[in-house]
Symmetry: C2
Subunit: 313 residues, 2 copies
C-alpha cells in the first residue's frame, strides 16, 4: 500500500447496515499503518484490505461509543492468536483500558505482546505521538461524550537542491545543508544567490485530519488548519440539522463548511446514518460548499491525487 | 424465511479470514428466530441476511471464546438503539452476564428491553427452554473451556386422520383425538380397525443439533440421536488430528463419523481454520464417511430437502 493513503474500513454511524460497517480506518503514513477507530468487524475488513495485522503500529480510538471500539476485543485477541510480539499502543479515552483489561483478565490468556494504553489529554489540541518526521495530535471535538479527532502531520520537508548548483558553486556539505533549509548563498565576492535559484520546492508535507464524531465546531478548524486530506463526519443531510444538533453530529453541508474553513485540499465525508441508502444527497450538499469531496465507502482507498477506488471485489 | 431453515452467518474458527466471519447462525424454527453463537460482525451479517433484529427470540452462546460472543456487545447495543421492547434471553455459560453487564454499566444507557441471562447447566444434557411444540436442550461438549452444543427438537406431530375414515365410521371428536394419537378404533361389533388404515403419517418432526466447538466425543451422540439436520465443527483436515486433539477440535472426517453415529439426515460442517482457503478437502473427507454433507458458507441458507444456496449477492 502506498504512503499517504487512507483505507476506509467502515463508514456507518451507530447501527451498521448491509453495506456499511461501523467506523474504522487505516492510514498508511510514514511507512506505518495507523488504525483509527476500531468498530465491530475491523479485523475482517483488515483481512479484506490485505493489511497484515502485525504491521499495525498503533491504534487511535476517538470515543467510547461502541461503534468506534467494539472491534478492539476481536483484534487484540487475534493479535494474540497470531503471536504478535511487537508492543502495541492504544491511544484512547480514559476508561477503555479498564474495560479491555477487565474483559481479558476474565476470559483469555495474558497478551503475547506488550499492550499499552495512553489516555487522550484534556486539552483542545495536544501532541500525543512524535515519530521521525511526523507527529500526531489529538483534538477535542464536541460530541455527547468526550471525543477526540486526530491530526497526522508530517514535518515540512527540506527544499531540494539543484544538482547544477552544487557543481556551479562547488558547494560544501555544510553549505548544501543550509541551502536545503532555505538559506541564500553568499559567494566570496559578496554576491548573494537567492535560495530560489538554488533549490526546487520539496514534495509538500502530507497531513490528514480525522474529525468524527462531532457537531460542527468552527473553533476546531484552527487546530487542523491546512489539513491536506480531511475526513469529516456527515451523519445527516442538512434537513435534519435539528436532529444533528440534538445528537451532536454534523450534516454533509456542515462537513463542507468545515473543509472550507480549514482550506483542506480534499474532503472525505462519512459516518452516514443507516437511514440513507443512496448517498448522492450527501455528495451534492457537501459539493455545494466545497468542491473536492468524496464519499467514504467501505474498502475504498483514498489519496490526494487520484479518485478513490475499491480494493475489494 | 421458511421454517426449519438455517442461515450460517459465520463459519470461521478463531481468526476470521477475508471470506469467513466468526461463528454465528440463525435458525428459523417454529416461526421464531434463534441466534446461535454471536461472533464479531453478527449484526452486519443479520442485516445482509435481512433478519429483523427485533424478531430474534433468544440467543444461545456455546462458550466464552471471543469468536463465539464478541458480536454480542454490538448487537445488544443496536437493539437498544432500534428501540427493542420485547424481553431477550441469552442462554450462555456462567460469567458472560457479568462481562456484559459490567461493560454496559460503564459505557451505555440502561437497556430499553428486559435482558435476562440463563446460565447453561452443568449436566451432560438438559432442557433449557420449552415452547409450544418444541424444546431446546443444552449438551456438554469437550473443549478447552466449558462448552455446550444445542439441540432444537420439535415434539412428534399427531398422525393425520383420513377424511374418508371420519365419514365411513362416523367418528366422534373424542375418537378422532385418540386415533390421531395412534389408537386403533374398536367398532360396536367388536371389530378392530388398525390405526394404519385410519391415518397417514404426519410431517416428520424437525430437529437441529449444533455441535461446536469440541473434540469428537462419541458419548454426545446419544443426546442428539436422530438429529435430522446436524452442524458439526470440522476445524481441521484429518492429517492434523494431533493438532485437533491438542486444541480440542475435530477433523472433517470425525464430523462425518459423528453424523453416522447420530444417524443424521444431513450434515453441515464448519468452523474452518483460517489456514484453509479451499474447502474441497473437508467436503471429500466428510463424504467418505457420511454421504449427505454440505460445507458451511457465510450467508448460505440450509434446509433438509434442498441444496444450500446463498442469500447474499
Amino acid at each position: 500500500m502506498e504512503d499517504n493513503a487512507l483505507i476506509v474500513l467502515g463508514c456507518s454511524s451507530a447501527t451498521p447496515n448491509s453495506v456499511r460497517f461501523p467506523s474504522a480506518q487505516i492510514l498508511h503514513f510514514r511507512s506505518k499503518y495507523f488504525l483509527i477507530d476500531c468498530g465491530e468487524g475491523t479485523q475482517m475488513q483488515l483481512r479484506r484490505a490485505k493489511v497484515p495485522f502485525e504491521r499495525i503500529d498503533s491504534i487511535f480510538i476517538s470515543h467510547l461509543h461502541g461503534d468506534h471500539y467494539f472491534g478492539l476485543f476481536g483484534l487484540l485477541a487475534s493479535l494474540n492468536l497470531t503471536g504478535r510480539k511487537n508492543p502495541l499502543t492504544v491511544y484512547a479515552p480514559e476508561g477503555l483500558e479498564e474495560l479491555v483489561r477487565y474483559h481479558f483478565l476474565k476470559t483469555e490468556q495474558p497478551f503475547s505482546y506488550p499492550l499499552q494504553f495512553v489516555a487522550l489529554p484534556q486539552e483542545p489540541c495536544a501532541c500525543i505521538k512524535k515519530g521521525r518526521g511526523y507527529e500526531i495530535r489529538a483534538i477535542q471535538l464536541n460530541h455527547r461524550v468526550p471525543c477526540w479527532g486526530f491530526y497526522f502531520v508530517e514535518e515540512p520537508k527540506e527544499r531540494k537542491i539543484q544538482k547544477e548548483a552544487i557543481d556551479r558553486y562547488d558547494l560544501s556539505i555544510e553549505e548544501v545543508k543550509c541551502i536545503k533549509n532555505g538559506s541564500d548563498l553568499t559567494l566570496q565576492d559578496g554576491t548573494v544567490i537567492p535560495n530560489a535559484e538554488l533549490t526546487i520546492d520539496p514534495v509538500p508535507a502530507f497531513s490528514y485530519a480525522y474529525i468524527s464524531d462531532t457537531m460542527l465546531k468552527p473553533d476546531i478548524a484552527q487546530y487542523v488548519q491546512g489539513a491536506r486530506l480531511l475526513y469529516h463526519e456527515a451523519t445527516f443531510l442538512h434537513d435534519l440539522l435539528p436532529l444533528a444538533n440534538t445528537t451532536h453530529h454534523s450534516t454533509a453541508r456542515q462537513a463542507g463548511e468545515f473543509a472550507q474553513m480549514v482550506h483542506a485540499e480534499k474532503l472525505i465525508i462519512g459516518h452516514f446514518s443507516a437511514r440513507y441508502k443512496d448517498l448522492n444527497g450527501h455528495l451534492t450538499e457537501a459539493k455545494d460548499v466545497f468542491e473536492n469531496v468524496e464519499l467514504a465507502s467501505d474498502l475504498n482507498l483514498y489519496t490526494l491525487y487520484k479518485p478513490a477506488y475499491s480494493i475489494w471485489n
